[in-house]
Amino acid sequence: DAGVTQSPTHLIKTRGQHVTLRCSPISGHKSVSWYQQVLGQGPQFIFQYYEKEERGRGNFPDRFSARQFPNYSSELNVNALLLGDSALYLCASSWGGSGTEKLFFGSGTQLSVL
């Protein structure tokens, strides 16, 4: 079975631009979470969606938004990119939304903002 797939794997943008990152969860998984991992640090929670509804939001500005589609795939959108948005963006899926189910992470999208 395919794991969590994210696209693109790498992305280079300039300040002020907008970016859309995509995630396909493992088949049967209804929850998708997004994390930002800055080099040398642990992942930071951005959003969780379960059954297409936002279940949680981390301490990120409104420039960050996300949605989950009927097939449970998800998009993370970031507007007005800043240099500090450069990071590895990780998507994780799980069967349920309580947080104690095993989280499966994708390999991430490496975003560089110049």
Partner: protein, 117 residues
């Protein structure tokens, strides 16, 4: 605000040795504590997890020790192997004020483990 503090930042052990990574937390609303392993270019992968009503959990060469009163927990890797060389993250899930929970994990800063052959 760093809610989960992890140490050491890096660790070098010899093959066959014991690797020990420690984490501490302040938030008493944390109720689930997983450990993740991350290899370069890959996302984190769950190794082992524990709930605070258990003081120790062992799976193969990996053991979590949990001290609820001290708000500390640690990962022990027995018989460390070169293939264990990776970055390890502790994490914690927070139960929200309503008593329900969702999937937000708070991660530590990570420990880069190097196992020499």
């Amino acid at each position: 605000q760093q809610q989960v503090k992890q140490s050491p930042q890096s660790l070098i052990v010899q093959k066959g040795g014991i690797s020990i990574i420690n984490c501490a937390y302040e938030n008493t609303a944390f109720d689930y504590f997983p450990w993740y392993q991350q290899f370069p270019g890959k996302g984190p992968a769950l190794l082992i997890a524990i709930r605070p009503d258990v003081s120790e959990k062992k799976e193969g060469r990996f053991t979590i020790s949990f001290n609820k009163s001290a708000k500390q927990f640690s990962l022990h890797i027995m018989d460390s192997q070169p293939g264990d060389s990776a970055t390890y993250f502790c994490a914690a899930r927070e139960r929200n004020a309503g008593g329900t929970s969702y999937g937000k994990l708070t991660f530590g800063q990570g420990t880069i483990l190097t196992v020499h052959p």
